[in-house]
């Protein structure tokens, strides 16, 4: 066990050097790492409990989503039964019921039952890879059609809605301009939002809680202001209030009911400056369909006004100065930079496909986090030094080897965590402590065994060799059990327990390597070089 071929020595040295190199970015401030090459950018992220910030766990209201889908399918059914080629193409249906989450209706003309089913079938979709449709269509009593959402379809719908919701929340949170927010899906119907450094989660919750529906509609030019003030709008129009603080004049606008362009067709909205006046403006851009519609409408309505309506509140109602043909428009007005920015964010953020509620919220102030890190680091250093001194006093040279190995172990854990982009949390530090303890213990086991073998009268070489081989068995068993525990915690545990498990798993691997292999290399090189006849251990 004390023979190290050259390739092994070189391999071990390379791993140790890499460990130190890749742990560097985690220790130095960001302004230094910025100048480093790309592969040295990865660093250990600090969890919110250490770095400070806000953590929100959002849960989708699945029942609400299903209700919306039922309502949409009802609309689809009615449209489909009306037919595309005029009245002759209609299929007359009786009372339509949506009770029990199913759509059920009577087809008056029995000969058209199959045609009705075919039309509906083309409105349903495959549900992912399951081979199932999202709705099943059944004929009951040869007169009724019953449509039931399939389980696969509902799962698919939730998954789609969650993906969209995640993207939208991502957009909204990024619009806050904070550093590196994390927005990830968790489980079937949850989204985790973590924003380091954010102090006031209320702002975040307001942003997320918004179920924005954005519409572009024409202002009714013929509305009588006095009539409108009395709450009466012309036929085909309605009175829509302004959003809080959005209007300098009247608190409402009279708008055409018809939606000119819907929010989905908006690609981007940004605060910028008018090149001539230097005033803050908001630049909006539509997709191709939206651009075409916008061009047509603006060409027909120069001099009139249109309104941007978010969730039934008017955000802004600019006049159309000229036809806008390119799909990109500039909204000017009495904006400040902040109000222009706010309007841009509101326009950008779009609508959430499903209602989300906050089920868990945690905020840690950065001071507290900093305090935790500082005190944790001080305590960690004192603890490490104390343990190292103890090791040296008790085991002499072999204790020093163990100490050096321990330092390499710390670097290797940090480097591995950085490579996996893992997050260090308080429970993670606990895992750290446990692995350091296990590493120390491994060396204690080995060194005690060497002492024992020497006591039994073995020669130095043999004693060291036996010390490593005999102790390895217990070290192996102890670490495998810890890996088993860590794996189970990782699969079944939640947040903090997972953080603990990750560090523990990484630490176990690195600590076995440093505490057993690396110290053995040191010991072997020393023994081969000096060939001592007795050792002080």
């Amino acid at each position: 066990m004390l023979d190290f071929p050259r390739w092994k020595t070189i391999g071990i040295s390379i791993i140790l050097v890499l460990g130190i190199v890749f742990s560097i970015p985690s220790f130095v401030p960001e302004r230094i790492t910025q100048n480093l090459p790309g592969f040295l950018q990865a660093k250990v992220n600090l969890g919110l409990d250490l770095a400070g910030g806000s953590h929100l766990l959002l849960e989708a209201d699945v029942a609400d989503l299903q209700k919306t889908q039922l309502a949409n399918m009802e609309k689809t059914v009615r449209t489909a039964m009306r037919g595309e080629r005029g009245p002759d193409d209609d299929i007359a249906i009786g009372e339509l019921s949506t009770a029990g989450g199913k759509i059920s209706f009577l087809v008056r003309d029995q000969s058209k039952l199959d045609a009705a089913r075919d039309r509906l079938f083309s409105e349903t979709q495959g549900a992912g890879m399951t081979g199932q449709r999202d709705w099943s269509i059944d004929i009951v009593d040869t007169t009724r059609i019953v449509m039931t959402p399939t389980a696969a379809g509902q799962r698919q719908a939730i998954a789609n809605a969650m993906d969209t919701a995640r993207d939208i929340i991502d957009k909204r949170v990024n619009a806050l301009g904070t550093r590196e927010p994390t927005i990830i899906r968790q489980g079937d119907d949850r989204i985790v939002v973590q924003v380091p450094g954010l102090q006031d989660p209320q702002q975040l919750k307001d942003l997320i809680g918004k179920t924005a529906r954005l519409e572009f509609r024409m202002v009714d030019p013929n509305a009588d202001p006095n009539e409108a003030a009395a709450g009466r709008a012309p036929v085909g129009s309605e009175i829509v209030p302004y959003a809080e603080g959005a209007s300098a004049g009247a608190p409402f606008e009279v708008l055409r009911r018809q939606v000119m362009i819907s929010g989905e067709q908006l690609i981007n909205a940004q605060q910028s400056y008018d090149p001539q006046s230097g005033q803050p403006v908001v630049t909006i851009r539509f997709d191709s369909g939206g651009s075409a519609t916008f061009a047509k409408v603006t060409a027909q309505n120069v001099g009139k006004r249109f309104a941007m309506v978010l969730d039934g509140k008017v955000l802004s109602a600019p006049s159309i100065n000229e036809p806008i043909l390119g799909g990109s428009a500039q909204i000017s007005g009495s904006f400040s930079v902040a109000s222009a920015n706010n309007l841009a964010i509101s326009l950008r953020s779009g609508a959430l496909p499903v209602k989300m509620t906050v089920v868990e919220e945690r905020t840690v102030t950065p001071e507290l986090g900093k305090d935790s890190i500082r005190k944790g680091a001080i305590a960690g250093i004192i603890a490490t030094v104390a343990v190292l001194v103890l090791m040296m006093v008790v085991y002499g040279r072999f204790g020093i080897y163990a100490c050096i190995a321990l330092f390499f172990n710390i670097f290797l854990i940090i480097a591995t965590m950085a490579a996996f982009n893992a997050t260090l949390t308080l429970p993670g530090i606990a895992g750290f402590v446990l692995t350091i303890g296990a590493a120390v213990d491994a060396n204690v086991l080995i060194n005690e065994r060497i002492r024992e073998e020497l006591k039994r009268g073995r020669r130095v070489f043999q004693a060291v060799e036996l010390g490593y081989s005999e102790a390895s068995r217990a070290i192996f068993d102890a670490n495998v059990t810890n890996v088993i525990a860590a794996a189970l915690m990782f699969w079944f545990g939640s947040g903090p327990i997972k953080g603990f498990a990750v560090v523990l798993t990484i630490g176990i691997v690195t600590s076995v390597f440093t505490a057993v292999t690396v110290t053995r290399l040191f010991a072997a090189r020393w023994l081969h070089a000096k060939r001592p006849t007795s050792i002080n251990i």
Binding site: V387, L390, T481, A485
Partner: protein
């Protein structure tokens, strides 16, 4: 340079002589812990009961807990739980969340923070945590599940690697450690949250490490001294591993004491639990897992092929029945 020897070379403590007394003490402690948890209950943090908690740090002298309770009670969110938090100038204030209404629950967080700021203008509020009942139920479930599965998985591994008696011994030792830690938290009423579950897992990991080291030596000695009685053999194994046990425990104790004294107050409960766990874990590997090996009749034949073991084993067990077995 003369090196320090923590345990003299010729140490020979008859650990197992006290096994019945130790077992009795362990049994009583376990029962007491269960009673304590049942009667006093655990001071569960928001992680496990739901609700909201705010950390309040006083820059000047801290008012008495009663004064704080009175003022927070006046905010109107129900009776708060107030608890000193690590340092002597910080408390955690916990209240329930309004049931049902999501908007009300949302407002409650603001209300609590603003109410505290109004009542104590010089205090700093930080670390607001809000956990809904649904999530806290899940956290309890996943926490308990991972704890139980970790214990079970470990025991199965030890069964496979050693013998089933060893697996049972390890499981009992772990059960002992976890129960006593629960009892400790019921006794001190320190807040029990997810971080403490991580501490429990660490204790399990440590205790297990200890148990395996002892078991490994027992296995080795069983093969080596095939004629030795089980009790002297266990004593021998424990003594042989004693210097290692002392050294490792001492290292951990030093490290944890430093964390307890100098470390951040947010991990005070965590470190306290671990410190206790080191004692319990070391004790349990000596007095829980080893005596169980006696009762479950582990013998030299446990590690030799089955065929030749049958007859020899019967005889040996016979002999043991006269003296050592309880």
């Amino acid at each position: 340079m003369r090196l320090l020897k923590l345990v003299p070379d010729d140490t020979n403590i008859q650990f197992l002589k006290w096994r019945n007394i130790a077992m009795a003490i362990s049994f009583v402690s376990i029962v007491l812990s269960i009673v304590l948890v049942a009667v006093r209950g655990l001071n569960l943090g928001v992680d496990f009961v739901g609700g909201q908690s705010v950390r309040v740090e006083f820059t000047q002298a801290m008012p008495s807990i009663d004064v704080i309770r009175e003022k927070v009670d006046a905010i109107g969110l129900g009776e708060p739980t107030i608890q000193q938090f690590g340092s002597d100038k910080a408390v955690s204030v916990r209240t329930a969340l309004p049931e049902g209404d999501k908007a009300a629950a949302d407002r409650a967080g603001k209300q609590l923070v603003q109410g505290i700021q109004k009542a104590f203008p010089t205090a700093k509020t930080g670390s607001v945590e809000t956990v809904s009942g649904k999530v806290s139920d899940e956290l309890i479930r996943t926490g308990a599940l991972s704890l139980a599965l970790a214990m079970l998985g470990i025991s199965i591994y030890i069964w496979v690697r050693f013998e089933w008696q060893f697996g049972v011994g390890a499981l009992f030792a772990l059960f002992h450690d976890v129960t006593l830690t629960f009892g400790f938290f019921a006794l001190t009423q320190m807040q029990f949250d997810l971080n403490i579950v991580a501490a429990l897992l660490t204790i399990i990991g440590y205790s297990l490490n200890d148990t395996i080291v002892v078991f490994d030596r027992v296995r080795e000695n069983l093969k080596k001294y095939r004629k030795m009685e089980i009790i002297p053999l266990l004593d021998l194994s424990l003594n042989e591993t004693l210097s290692r046990t002392v050294m490792t425990s001492l290292s951990m104790l030093i490290a944890l004491t430093m964390l307890l004294v100098f470390g951040p107050d947010v991990i005070f409960g965590f470190t306290a639990a671990m410190l206790l766990g080191i004692f319990i874990g070391t004790y349990s590997s000596i007095y829980m897992s080893a005596p169980i090996l006696v009762w479950l009749k582990v013998g030299p034949d446990s590690f030799v092929p089955r065929t030749s073991a049958a007859s020899a084993g019967a005889e040996r067990i016979e002999r043991k029945d006269d003296g050592a077995v309880v």
